[in-house]
């Protein structure tokens, strides 16, 4: 009987230590996720896991593990989206550079500021100088249109 009680007490202590360990992991993951969301604003939004049906309560091992795993998945997702976004922006920047160097070879090509990771509704656009005359004469230029469309 005494041995059983000791064994149970030892298991409780072990489980408490495991829960504390999971809480530390959750705290670290939460900090990383927050940092990623801020640096990736407005694109870095992480979808919430869903409302907690039980409200505030002391979580068991299983629940803590589930939260930890959810944060890991959210972090992975946010990171991979950030990498993809970074690649798309790098490609758009390279395209803009090519447009600026040789506008004549990129007629009517458009690159939006948003694709470059910049705020606003501006669009870099290769257009002929002086309209039809420039088009016939081969005078091409890159123009930045600015301003967002008016709200309807």
């Amino acid at each position: 009987m005494v041995e059983l009680t000791v064994r149970r007490a030892r298991r409780d202590v072990d489980e408490q230590a495991a829960r504390a360990q999971l809480r530390r992991q959750i705290a670290r993951l939460e900090a990383q996720l927050s940092a990623l969301q801020i640096s990736g604003f407005p694109y870095g939004r992480v979808e919430p896991a869903g409302p907690g049906a039980r409200g505030p309560h002391i979580l068991g091992l299983g629940e803590l593990e589930s939260i930890r795993d959810g944060l890991v998945a959210g972090l992975d997702d946010a990171r991979s989206r950030a990498v993809e976004r970074g690649e798309r922006q790098a490609a758009a920047r390279a395209q803009l550079e090519r447009m600026l160097q040789e506008p004549g070879r990129h007629k009517f090509v458009r690159v939006a500021s948003r694709d470059l990771g910049e705020p606003g509704c501006g669009v870099w656009h290769v257009r002929p100088r002086l309209g039809l005359i420039g088009m016939l004469a081969g005078w091409w230029q890159v123009k930045l249109s600015s301003g967002c469309p008016l709200a309807s």
Binding site: I26, S34, A35, F41, V46, P51, P56, H57, I58
Partner: protein, 215 residues
């Protein structure tokens, strides 16, 4: 004006063993329901002017709001679904263009929250019996009195007095415990998440009490 005496609440063993730094404390202030004094309205206005979109976004990385975010996760709340109090105040500030002025008590709570990041709640001191305690709800307990009182799921973390739960942690306060027209003494309580420096925690209560006791 006398310095309000901060009283420590009890954190039940089951919670204290999981969250050793968790704190509950309260102060009481003699005050009657009234409109927000001009001085407090001005302070809120100044705070709103200093509170821009960039801060609303990055506030989750500041030490105190971050501690509450982590604590939310630790107790099964998703801070991206149910915002932490300071993040909710930040969103309100952006949506409404300021910290909306309500009653003096409500505004004092907002002031303390925005100044320190620590949420404070108010109760009618006359309707609170004995010391406050942070514990899990027991089977059959309800939030409030009467036919419309909400049932509390056993295990839900609540702030309770000797007669029963007065509020769900980071949730609703029992309607029959809220300050009302006949209130002449307000009890202000705060819950300090693990990792929140004592200075901020205590300052939140003092700041709120001072704002209510300033006339």
């Amino acid at each position: 004006m006398t310095e309000p005496v901060l009283q420590e609440g009890v954190v039940h063993d089951s919670l204290a063993s999981e969250f050793p730094d968790l704190r509950l404390a309260w102060v009481t202030v003699d005050t009657r329901p009234r409109r927000t004094p001009a001085e407090l309205r001005e302070r809120l206005g100044m705070l709103a002017d200093r509170f821009h979109g960039a801060r609303a976004l990055s506030i989750r990385r500041e030490p105190v709001p971050a501690a509450y975010r982590v604590f939310f996760r630790h107790i099964g709340l998703d801070p991206d679904v149910q915002r932490t109090p300071i993040e909710a105040a930040a969103v309100e500030r952006l949506l409404r263009g300021g910290f909306v002025s309500g009653s003096a008590v409500d505004d004092a709570l907002v002031l303390a929250l925005v100044e320190t990041g620590v949420p404070v709640w108010a109760l009618d001191a006359a309707r609170v019996g004995g010391a406050l305690e942070l514990r899990a709800a027991r089977t059959g307990e309800r939030l409030g009195a009467g036919d419309y009182a909400d049932d509390l799921a056993p295990g839900r973390i609540v702030v309770a007095d000797e007669t029963g739960p007065v509020a769900v942690l980071f949730g609703p306060v029992a309607p029959d415990r809220l300050p009302g027209r006949d209130t002449d003494r307000v009890l202000l309580f705060a819950v300090g998440a693990p990792g929140v420096p004592a200075l901020y925690f205590e300052e939140a209560l003092h700041c709120c009490a001072e704002a209510l006791d300033s006339d």
